[in-house]
Subunit: 514 residues, 2 copies
Amino acid sequence: MKNALDRDIPEQIGDRTLRPFQGAFGTTPTGRKAARPQKTVKLGETKVLKSIEAAIEATGLESGMTISFHHSFRNGDYLVNTVVDACARMGINDLRLFPTALFPVHAPLIEHIKSGVVARIEGSMNGPVGAFVSQGGKLKAPAVLRSHGGRWRAVEAGDVHINVAFVAAPQADPYGNATGIKGRTPCGPIAFSAVDAQYADKTVVVTNDLQPYPVYPFEIQQGWTDYVVVVDEIGDPGSIASGTLKITRSPTRLKIARLAAAAVKASGYLKDGFSFQGGAGGISLATTKFVGEEMEKAGIVGSFAMGGGTRLLVDILHRGLVHVLLDGQAFDLDAIASLRDDETHVLIDPGHYANYDSRGCSTYMLDAAFLGATEVDLDFNVNVNTHSDGQLLHGIGGHQEVAAGAKLTLITVPTLRGRLPVIVDRVTTVTTPGEVIDAIVTERGIAVNPRRQDLNDRFVRAGLPVRPLADIKAEADRLTRPPRKPVFGDEVIALIEWRDGTIIDTVRKVVGWK
Amino acid sequence: MKNALDRDIPEQIGDRTLRPFQGAFGTTPTGRKAARPQKTVKLGETKVLKSIEAAIEATGLESGMTISFHHSFRNGDYLVNTVVDACARMGINDLRLFPTALFPVHAPLIEHIKSGVVARIEGSMNGPVGAFVSQGGKLKAPAVLRSHGGRWRAVEAGDVHINVAFVAAPQADPYGNATGIKGRTPCGPIAFSAVDAQYADKTVVVTNDLQPYPVYPFEIQQGWTDYVVVVDEIGDPGSIASGTLKITRSPTRLKIARLAAAAVKASGYLKDGFSFQGGAGGISLATTKFVGEEMEKAGIVGSFAMGGGTRLLVDILHRGLVHVLLDGQAFDLDAIASLRDDETHVLIDPGHYANYDSRGCSTYMLDAAFLGATEVDLDFNVNVNTHSDGQLLHGIGGHQEVAAGAKLTLITVPTLRGRLPVIVDRVTTVTTPGEVIDAIVTERGIAVNPRRQDLNDRFVRAGLPVRPLADIKAEADRLTRPPRKPVFGDEVIALIEWRDGTIIDTVRKVVGWK
């Protein structure tokens, strides 16, 4: 069947009937949320177990079950590999992995996929695991990629039933209260796991820093936690910040960032009470910095900014340019320290910031957002998941929810990456539909979505280099040879969910080149 | 049928089949928690309504439905009366009221009961409403009294389905994030309503201080809130602290408090890491103060203390005698200020601190607690709900959960109140069973529960005046005439739930005197 973006979607995958994407706000949920089985832990019962193996036994984890993890340690995470290794040793296989995201550090999972320990993955796959899965025929069912809010929604709605949630906790107490912003090796918020911990059959907190009761803030609560395991180390916080978390030094990209900041200024949204989302990625970080400078120059105090938290956003908070910083994840150690120490740096979970099936989320309060893309197309559709060679290498993150929410969503991209054009006729994969994108900002000019004539007029009045997207594309295309294009087969490697649980696109196996 | 305390319990009340009390930890829950209907609030939808009447209309509130409230303003609350008055004007009747607690300020409800606007009440009834209901024949069904944790449990378990939750919020934003510890008229934590706001069909936040997005801490979250109403005033914080929140000046009661503190010292629990609950009530407050002095003298640093928060507990925190103060409610303005300003004064909700149907609650981590009673009996059963004349005048509060959890639960009571004996053969109503009470501390000595021979030995070794409870009772009885006793009829005025949802006792209508 075709969805609202004319993408071909299978009607059924295994026992799951797929719902096609119907527009950014096209669906209204029905029925009830899922409900956890009742359980009481009585006075005097203890929760602390000696090892991951003991926890696997205590939880009754068996072949065919679903296990979940958060990604707050990003490329420094130890827990996913540790748990899956233990499962393999204990003869458990056919697992469905339900991480928020995997990183290059999780490459050892490839062997576990080959051996059948891991049969399915639903979660972002940044890097080698994604590349491996892209080859096709590796998993028992297509991978499912969800946004931050989409994953939360899926658990609450009962779309994904977690058997055992494993929560890496930089600090925990023996009763299972846990946080990621304290401890020997803080990794930033771990509230991504809060929905897992509340809906899983069993919840296991794994910590390398057990402290006396009570540990707070209660990102994970005693009332949700079945077991606590103490291990030597759970992750390397030094690996949280990756290369994409430094401000770009490229003159082209700095130009894009300055243009984006100028667009924000010209948009009419930049006034007292202004709110914005400053993501990771070199251009977004530079844009965040330049927007902060515009605010300072104009004497504007914003209401709030949202991360992932970075040193740059913390700096904007400390300079009094916004009243509040809201963060669900931390991209560097400065953000973690600020979450711990600054009363106005407030920890939020993905349900709060991004859940479609809720009575409203934080991104709906945003004025502006600066987001990246691997590709954009002439319908303003955005791809952040695949490269133009068809490889599935990135997760969705909060891209969908921020784009859907912000009054001004700017995609900041160079027109070329190496010799590859970024603006294409039709994106390889749609992550976020053009209807929620307001403008594409490139080093060759700004293309405004035709839905936003008001914005176009403002930009023109401000003297910004506004151009049709097709013109920018044509100019870039002239500088490079048309790249070879992958030919896709029938096998669906992955489903890309829109944040409401409908299918916005699929990723198919590459079977040749043209 | 008879329950485990030999109290006579009806098998059925209306369409509810009653489960008899089976011991403090006698039941294990089955099935699943309740689940809220799915709903999405989409981009651009607003929540702010002009009046309570508009909210009543928007929520679809109708005759026969259930509405809920928190009691954080205590005797200063305006919202319950305002909403019920509005319902009456709008022709809505047959309501089930589900407040956490009612106070003397809610006496106008009596007229609404008479006129049929309010048909049922499930919640604590402190004072005139309780006295009125005690007369019998007033409500369509017996009142149901639950502890803090028991009420939370009942909502999560689906025992009580709330149609509309009204949440008095001293500060809120237009999207429905709300807190009680900030604003023009802070009342302390409002997280008692968090379970209502998450499970009700519709949630209405009512505030007198609407602030720009985002208001935090998120005691009530935007994702739970359907509507926000701004009114002139929601309550009088000056009425939060009542007469029972001052340290006693009575020499007898001070003697009891000193004896209780000496008992804590002798118990063996008073060492580094010590934790305790210091409730309200003149003797409890004095005991809290004296225990703090003992800690200071001995150079002990405790792990945590729990309130209801008071100036005395805040003082103990500020003096460094405990690392953390956990509070679900505030009993005075000092506690509210401290919750707002002290990072180590941590707000908890009743689910966290007290829920039986959870994977463990904070009271299970307590070493010691000092609680009051209207009556105690020779089986160490405690009554806090009724007076010996059979009048239902008080709620349960956290009495059951604290007593069930603390390793050392002391009931601090004078042997006589006026001419009425406090120690009786059999309490008029059992609120908390003797099995979870460790000792009764009176001005005539300490009676240790025979289950705690270890404690008895320690107290004797420390030279404390340990005596059989029957002896203390006999001594007190000799000083007064036997009071007239009420004769109870068949009509059940109220059910007293144990914290697990079983029925520990009933309150019956007084039909005569003997």
